[in-house]
Amino acid sequence: MTTATPNLSLPATSGAYADGAQLPKTVKVGGLNHFFGDGEQRTQALFDNNLEVRRGEIVIMTGPSGSGKTTLLTLIGTLRTVCEGSLQVLGNELNGASRDDINHIRRDMGFIFQAHNLFESLTAFQNVNMAAELQGISRKAAKERIEYLLTRLDLGHRIHYKPNSLSGGQKQRVAIARGLVHRPKLILADEPTAALDEKTGREVVTLFQEMAKDEGCTVIMVTHDNRILDVADRIVNMVQGHIRSDVAVVEASVICEFLRQYPLFAELTPNTLTDMADKMMVRQSEPGEVVIRQNDPGDLFYLIRAGHVEVIVEEAGKSEKVAELGQGQFFGEAALITKKPRNATVIATEETTFYTLGQEDFQAVLDQSKTFESELRSVLAGRT
């Protein structure tokens, strides 16, 4: 038997292990640093950014202005040259990619900028068609698709208008149609709804959702618009060039749901639960691996995300299996609370994924609730 070691340092809420089988990653950011300027003027804009975005995910990036959201977005969009670190988009490493590769990748992406950048000399239709033409879409298909999109975006009556006879919001919607017309695999949008009213803004994110669901299109969106946060599968919060949190919304709520089932955690506010979820890390064990060993000092709290374990208590040289735990159940809390060594050994019976919480963070959660400790003690009392 081998001792389980923390083999991964991914946050539990990243959602990376939520579904067991690994879905392909549309975007993989690893140790990415970015700098602006040269020599004395050189300033660092991004610090060791790590991020993974799965196919079909809708990611919203938030954070104060100047936090590096747009910089990261444009880096992913190949609109800036990668300085340092790894950045993989649609299976291509961008650091050091050739100009031809970059041009190729760009055709699989749809970019929606803050500035609409429409050609004044072309009509709404022709502007959108510039993106369709590049992909070699047939004229007929392109025409149908453009008319469909513009109509969906409430511009059906403005298809052949030039930008100078459109309002700001209408221009923005033409630019959105241009970003979607070629069914990109990755949509990058910088404040796409900023110039739109609630109704059209909602229509835009609904379109994004449809494309994500129906075509497996991945969407990464920078926005300050709280009205559309609900469409996010993942919310990435950036502060001063650091990714402060990267939360898979669904996964965070899954964790909260698991915990809430137990009287021990039931009284915690959603905020505390979410904080707890945020601080959990992923850990995996092979079948037969010892997760914790009786009489070792306790350091982690475990929640089983997937798989099964056996709890074995050794007494007077005799091993006795006292419990079998599965998905959604937890263990390891006793040693943290009582500050005593582990009172049992836990062995994975199959490939198992845990979400773990360190002693300090666990203690912080305990401090949130006055009743928590007594609850916990009674739970513990009940178990032994």
Partner: protein
């Protein structure tokens, strides 16, 4: 059919395009004028020779240019005539002398002091003229007396035509002074002198001897040799040169120093053009003028095109972000440049044509719109626009799209 973006951009913003066209047009007209001036200098060098009938020319090795041709002994011409392959060998006299503007018919005796002007005087045999134009060949027959002359209608008005503008019918019979003897105008002809002199006249050899009284008739300026059909021009050229002694401008003198150089028509033209275009200040000024005009043109067109591209930087960067290649963007800008060049060129050539006419009738400079000039300027106009367009695109090529929005 791809969206004709270049065309749409040009048509959409009519004011901007009009400004761009004005810039291109201005540059093109500048180049046209300088080319025209340069052409006039070239033409000065060749238009009299173009009117003369010859295959080979004999002239003094010390010949400088048209109006300073120097002389050589007349016997050389008759010697050359003795060789096989030579059909005719004619003497031709040409010199600068002075002309007194004739007295107008209504001038009172005593208050007219005719102005003196420098004039080109050419002497040729009326019975066997060395000219090609039919009009001159015909009218030269009137030079039956050594006091008769023909005056070039292209001579400037200060040579004293009776209508104050141009010599014509009215001037026939008018008497004036050429050199230091009285002559009578018996008819007019048209040839033109370019920048070498402001007027020209034709006499017979004896008349020439009177007009250019310092030059004896035994000393001629040019010998004009025509060949029999089928004769090899270079063989005859060598034969004449051998007969008259090789030209020697350097080294120790030979026993019979050559006093004649034999040249083909092409050699004459090339040397004369080089002399006028490269070695006279006038030619040099206009040569430089072409470059200056081109430089100014590039500056104007670059300014116009780069402003245009800068205004649309965000849009072009968006195209780049979509995955359009630099090649596509280049082709859009180049199409736009070439369209500007072509559309700017058409009115410019018409305006230049008019300006050529005005300048040549006002100054007597023989400015002519030739196919050569028209096509060279078209080429330069396109080159100018294309270079400016590419220079203006540099920023788009170098920068990351994100920095251009």
């Amino acid at each position: 059919m791809k969206t004709p973006l270049a065309w749409k951009n040009l048509v959409h913003n009519k004011v901007r395009t009009a400004v761009a066209l004005a810039g291109v047009g201005f540059a093109v007209i500048l180049i046209f004028m300088q080319m025209g001036f340069k052409g006039a200098v070239k033409k000065t060098a060749t238009q009299i020779y173009d009117a003369l009938e010859f295959d080979l020319m004999l002239r003094s090795p010390t010949y400088l240019h048209l109006t300073d041709p120097r002389t050589f002994p007349r016997e050389r011409i008759y010697q050359a005539a003795s060789l096989p392959g030579v059909e005719a060998s004619r003497p031709f006299y040409l010199g600068l002398t002075e002309w007194q503007a004739p007295q107008p018919p209504d001038a009172k005796l005593g208050d007219w002091q005719g102005e003196w002007r420098g004039i080109i005087c050419m002497g040729t045999d009326p019975a066997d003229p060395a000219f090609r134009p039919a009009e001159i060949r015909e009218k030269v027959k009137n030079l039956t007396d050594s006091s008769f002359l023909l005056i070039d209608r292209k001579s400037k008005s200060d040579f004293g035509p009776s209508n104050g503008e141009r010599f014509g019918e009215l001037d026939i019979g008018v008497k004036t002074v050429l050199g230091r003897e009285r002559f009578q105008i018996v008819d007019t002809f048209e040839l033109g002198t370019g920048l070498a002199a402001n007027g020209a006249c034709l006499t017979n050899p004896n008349g020439f001897a009177k007009a250019c009284y310092w030059q004896p008739l035994q000393q001629v300026n040019l010998g004009l040799v025509t060949l029999t059909p089928g004769a090899d021009i270079h063989q005859v050229q060598n034969a004449i040169q051998q007969l008259l002694g090789p030209v020697q401008l350097e080294g120790p003198p030979t026993a019979t120093p050559a006093d004649v150089e034999v040249l083909t028509r092409d050699e004459v033209r090339v040397r004369e053009e080089k002399r006028w275009v490269k070695e006279t200040p006038l030619g040099f000024i206009f040569e430089i003028g072409v470059y200056v005009a081109l430089f100014v043109g590039v500056a104007i067109v670059y300014q116009v095109l780069s402003t245009d591209i800068a205004n649309m930087m965000g849009e072009y960067a968006t195209l780049k972000a979509m995955g359009y290649t630099n090649g596509y963007l280049t082709s859009v800008v180049l199409q736009q440049s070439v369209l500007l060049a072509l559309v700017g060129y058409v009115p410019s050539i018409l305006i230049s044509w008019a300006l050529y006419y005005i300048v040549s009738s006002a100054s007597g400079m023989p400015m002519a719109m030739t196919w050569q000039i028209a096509s060279i300027v078209l080429g330069l106009a396109i080159l100018m626009c294309v270079l400016s367009g590419l220079a203006a695109l540099r920023k788009l090529f170098q920068a990351d799209p994100a920095d251009l929005f």
